[in-house]
């Protein structure tokens, strides 16, 4: 078959673009090189929806950030993704900083950010009593919020699939060419044909462009390291706390997450390897010391994990969202670094405009369901609702992950509901099983068993995150004897 549109990349942008396309009578497929969606930049970032005062006026970043921030509450409502509008603060510690946040305030007004406010020290400490005493002033953006990026991408792809979009995982694009009417996109095993192509390949968007014969841009990975702290620390701050931004990014922030943990980070380091998501001693030390400058009461003892994510940075200081200069019908969505998550709903809308300009015909699909029925979250249900559910399906009464209170029923649902989890990390991202304070110590063996049973594979075939990430080396000697 020939698809109308192929979206390359199942990060948050690819996912939201696919969902937008599923509103119309179109055959759409999403091609993702990894074993799951949201495995690149979307997997690990600050999970912030920025107000939009930071980007230079007139840029796509500025325009789409402010628009995206405004679209986020409704979008998250439709997809049942937790979103909290907790506001953000940029702290000023000295006179230079004060000048800087005043400039940001002015810039925010030009960008159209609503309700921006400068807070003096007293107002600030009243609002956030755990901030450093040394703070002088702050810029408050009440429209900013927090959202879990991979949850948003999972929900968007799931909703798109429910509305007919095909998802092809482990599809690493090796070639992209255009025959008369359509593109041929090949991987090692398969070729997909499509009339239009959206290149939302994140860190690899330049390589997709190159495959199409273009070398107009170059994407460099920029690493950011983070630490995630126990929920006991989640209440230290209400808003997202920034220090003054620099050329390398918005600096190290302190923020609650939608799940109630405290997140601190990121560092900002240009690297060469697009797959190097390792943390470093120096990086983690820097995260810790800088975060303590904003919120001195953070108890670093309560760190439950640390991780690193990679930003997809273009040389140009703006998003690259434009039609290919070589091949008609190909749209690049590249260089989506911060504020990419914030802008993603607006990026997806803008891409529809570009596709229209390329000549795509859009006929609304009346069967489109904007709402995605969420997975069950037993821990958030009332006792009555929970009992009704357990009566229907007793496995919702069997707790597998103790720390987060995740049941067998929820894990089975995550494996079978679009987009189905096939790996340990996939289950973790969809359900939070293994994400709590013991970090999977207790539930890993049970989740491996459930995955093997539900997918009809052996325990040894279960992986952490696809590819060669097998979790078990084989059966024990005793197991052999029993056989």
């Amino acid at each position: 078959m020939i698809y109308d549109v192929a979206v390359i990349g199942a990060g948050v942008c690819g996912a939201l673009i696919a969902r937008n396309l599923s509103r119309f009578y179109l055959n759409v497929c999403v091609l993702e090189q990894e074993s799951d969606v949201a495995m690149g930049t979307t997997r690990a970032n600050s999970a912030i929806v920025h107000g939009g005062f930071d980007a230079k006026p007139g840029t796509l970043k500025a325009k789409l950030n402010v628009e995206g921030c405004g679209m986020m509450p409704e979008l998250c409502g439709e997809l049942h993704v937790p979103y909290r509008q907790n506001g953000s603060l940029v702290l000023a510690f000295d006179k230079e900083d004060v000048k800087h946040i005043h400039a940001l305030y002015e810039r925010g007004l030009v960008n159209g950010v609503k309700n921006l406010k400068l807070l003096n020290r007293e107002e600030l400490l009243k609002q956030e009593p755990n901030l450093s005493e040394k703070v002088l002033e702050a810029l408050y953006a009440p429209s900013a919020g927090i959202v879990c990026p991979y949850e948003l991408a999972l929900a968007a792809i799931g909703n798109a699939m429910d509305n007919g979009v095909h998802l092809k995982l482990c599809f690493k694009v090796t070639g992209l060419s255009k025959e008369k009417e359509y593109f041929c996109i090949s991987s090692e095993n398969e070729t997909v044909k499509a009339r239009y192509v959206v290149n939302a390949a994140g860190l690899f968007a330049d390589e997709i462009a190159k495959a199409a014969g273009e070398d107009g841009f170059f994407i460099a990975p920029r690493k950011g390291e983070y630490m995630l702290l126990d929920k006991a620390q989640g209440g230290l701050v209400n808003s997202t706390i920034f220090q003054c931004p620099s050329k390398m990014g918005k600096g190290i922030l302190v923020t609650p997450t939608v799940d109630g943990n405290l997140l601190i980070g990121p560092t900002s380091e240009n690297i060469l390897d697009k797959t190097d998501s390792s943390t470093t001693q120096q990086g983690l030390e820097k995260v810790a010391s800088t975060a303590l400058k904003s919120v001195p009461g953070i108890q670093l003892r309560t760190v439950i994990t640390s991780f690193a994510g990679l930003r997809a940075c273009a040389e140009k200081e703006d998003f690259i969202i434009e039609p290919s200069k070589k091949l008609k019908g190909l749209i690049h969505v590249a260089g989506i670094e911060s504020p990419g998550l914030s802008a993603s709903p607006a990026i997806a809308r803008y891409v529809m405009e570009l596709l229209k300009r390329e000549g795509i015909s859009l006929k609304a699909n009346p069967a489109f369901q904007a709402e995605r029925r969420p997975l069950h979250h037993c821990r958030q249900m009332s006792m009555e609702m929970r009992n009704q559910l357990i009566q229907k399906e007793p496995r919702f009464g069997r707790v597998i992950c103790r720390c987060e209170g995740i049941t067998e029923g929820e894990i089975i649902e995550a494996i079978h509901k679009n987009p189905g989890a096939t790996t340990l990390d996939g289950v973790k991202r969809r359900t939070r099983a293994g994400m709590g304070r013991c970090q999977g110590g207790f539930c890993t063996p049970s989740v491996i068993e459930i995955l093997a049973r539900e997918l009809g594979i052996s325990m040894e075939q279960v992986t952490k995150s696809g590819g060669g990430s097998r979790l078990l080396a084989g059966k024990c000697k005793a197991g052999e004897c029993v056989k």
């Binding site: 760190v303 009992n387 007793p394 890993t444 080396a473 024990c476 000697k477």
Partner: protein
């Protein structure tokens, strides 16, 4: 709402012994709640021997030790629910739990015993830099996979931390055909029992690298190696001492944490050092009628001591339910002095008139020391110890006569003998 005299949270060694203690002291209306599919807790995956020397005078495996207690539970017809997870405990002793057959339900108890055990510290808590590939497990998870599920997590192993589970797993993995390349311990001494170092490492020629830590984990999909470096006295890696060890698996045995989330949410006062509740000599917490015992109270070395403590908690809960317990008397808080990391119990009722077994751990490895209990300058008790180590739990037994003289000024401390 269901009602019960006594609800015990946890059906591991502590919960089982607590149930027996309470039953034999006259409480028959007991409900034991266990989150796993069978009673016995973590003992079920501890198939090595070494359990029960103090309690039964013989060396048992973990499942054997658990079985002995289970049989006593069955004999007395004490009721228990399996695959049942407690979700909440209120200060007035309403326990909310969930399972597949009863759904979410609540029990109003006259007394509650906390016996939830402990969990392992994870790699994340140590902030060890590097990638996050497959093949990184805590030692207990590896033990569950090998002994509980029959699968080997990997074939070339480096273990960080020389806690007992790490040492046991070094031997277990070796017996299953894996190659354990090293056990690294950041401290200059092992955190495990001496007998485990001999029987699990030395007997199998597995190198124990003291004052070493893992500074980096390598591998994108699966672990392909670790960098191990020597550390200085403050535990920081020394530059230039890094060594790459090829392996496909890293096991962490870096400490146990009492699993006290229920207690914390209920508002029970915890001891920041043990991570468990602050208790009186009868193992009652800061909330009336809520008791704690076993590894949820403080991490023990030997299950025999867990059983002993849990029986005491069970008897105390029975006394409380039968209203035989005088709770209005004067209480005393003991202080820990030089060289003492923690004390359990932290508090006592002075008129308890019973001998007191006071458990403690020391802060450092020392030879030839004296453990001293003093009230200001006056000496109440002293005992010589030829060797003490943080890895070995110690105790002193105070006679009823000494107990009656205890005051809030009493300090337990370790003194080094002058040469």
């Amino acid at each position: 709402m269901k009602k019960a005299d006594l609800v015990i949270i946890g059906g591991g060694p502590a919960g089982l012994a607590a149930a027996l203690g309470a039953y034999d002291a006259g409480i028959k209306d007991i409900i034991l709640l266990e989150r796993d599919g069978k009673l016995g807790g973590i003992l079920n995956q501890c198939i090595h021997n070494g359990f029960g020397l103090h309690r039964f005078g013989e060396e048992l495996t973990g499942p054997e030790y658990a079985w002995k207690y289970q049989q006593e539970i069955f004999k007395r017809n004490i009721s228990f629910l399996l695959d049942t997870m407690v979700l909440n405990l209120s200060p007035d002793r309403i326990v909310t739990a969930v399972n597949s057959s009863d759904g979410v339900f609540q029990i109003q108890a006259k007394a509650v015993i906390l016996a939830m055990g402990c969990r392992e510290r994870s790699r994340g808590a140590l902030n060890i830099p590097g990638m996050r590939p497959a093949g990184i497990y805590s030692a207990g998870t590896a033990q569950k996979l090998v002994n509980g599920k029959g699968y080997l997590p990997g074939k070339k192993v480096v273990i960080l931390g020389s806690g007992d589970i790490g040492l046991i797993m070094a031997r277990r993995m070796t017996l299953e055909g894996a190659q354990v390349k090293a056990v690294c311990e950041i401290m200059p001494y092992s955190g495990g029992l001496n007998r485990n170092i001999v029987q699990c490492l030395e007997d199998f020629q597995i190198p124990l690298k003291l004052s070493h830590t893992i500074t980096q984990i390598h591998g994108k999909d699966r672990v392909c190696g670790v960098t191990v470096a020597k550390v200085n006295r403050s535990g920081k890696p020394i530059q230039g001492t890094g060594e790459f060890i090829e392996c496909d698996t890293v096991l962490f045995s870096v400490g146990l944490i009492p699993e006290n989330e229920l207690a914390k949410e209920a508002g029970i006062r915890l001891d920041p050092v043990t991570g468990g509740a602050e208790v009186f000599e009868n193992r009652e917490t800061s909330f009336k009628g809520i008791f704690a015992c076993g590894n949820v109270l403080h991490v023990h070395d030997l299950v025999d001591y867990v059983s002993e403590e849990a029986e005491l908690a069970g008897r105390s809960a029975a006394k409380f339910i039968l209203e035989k317990w005088k709770r209005d008397g004067e209480t005393v808080t003991l202080k820990r002095g030089e060289g003492i990391r923690y004390l359990v119990p932290q508090k006592l009722h002075r008129e308890s008139h019973e001998a007191l077994k006071l458990y403690f751990r020391v802060t450092d490895v020392k030879r030839n020391v004296e453990i001293v209990l003093r009230d200001g300058k006056s000496l109440l008790y002293s005992k010589r110890h030829p060797k003490v180590a943080p890895g070995e739990m110690e105790y002193v037994i105070l006679t009823p006569e000494i107990v009656s003289r205890l005051t809030n000024n009493c300090v337990l401390e370790m003194r080094e003998k002058e040469q």
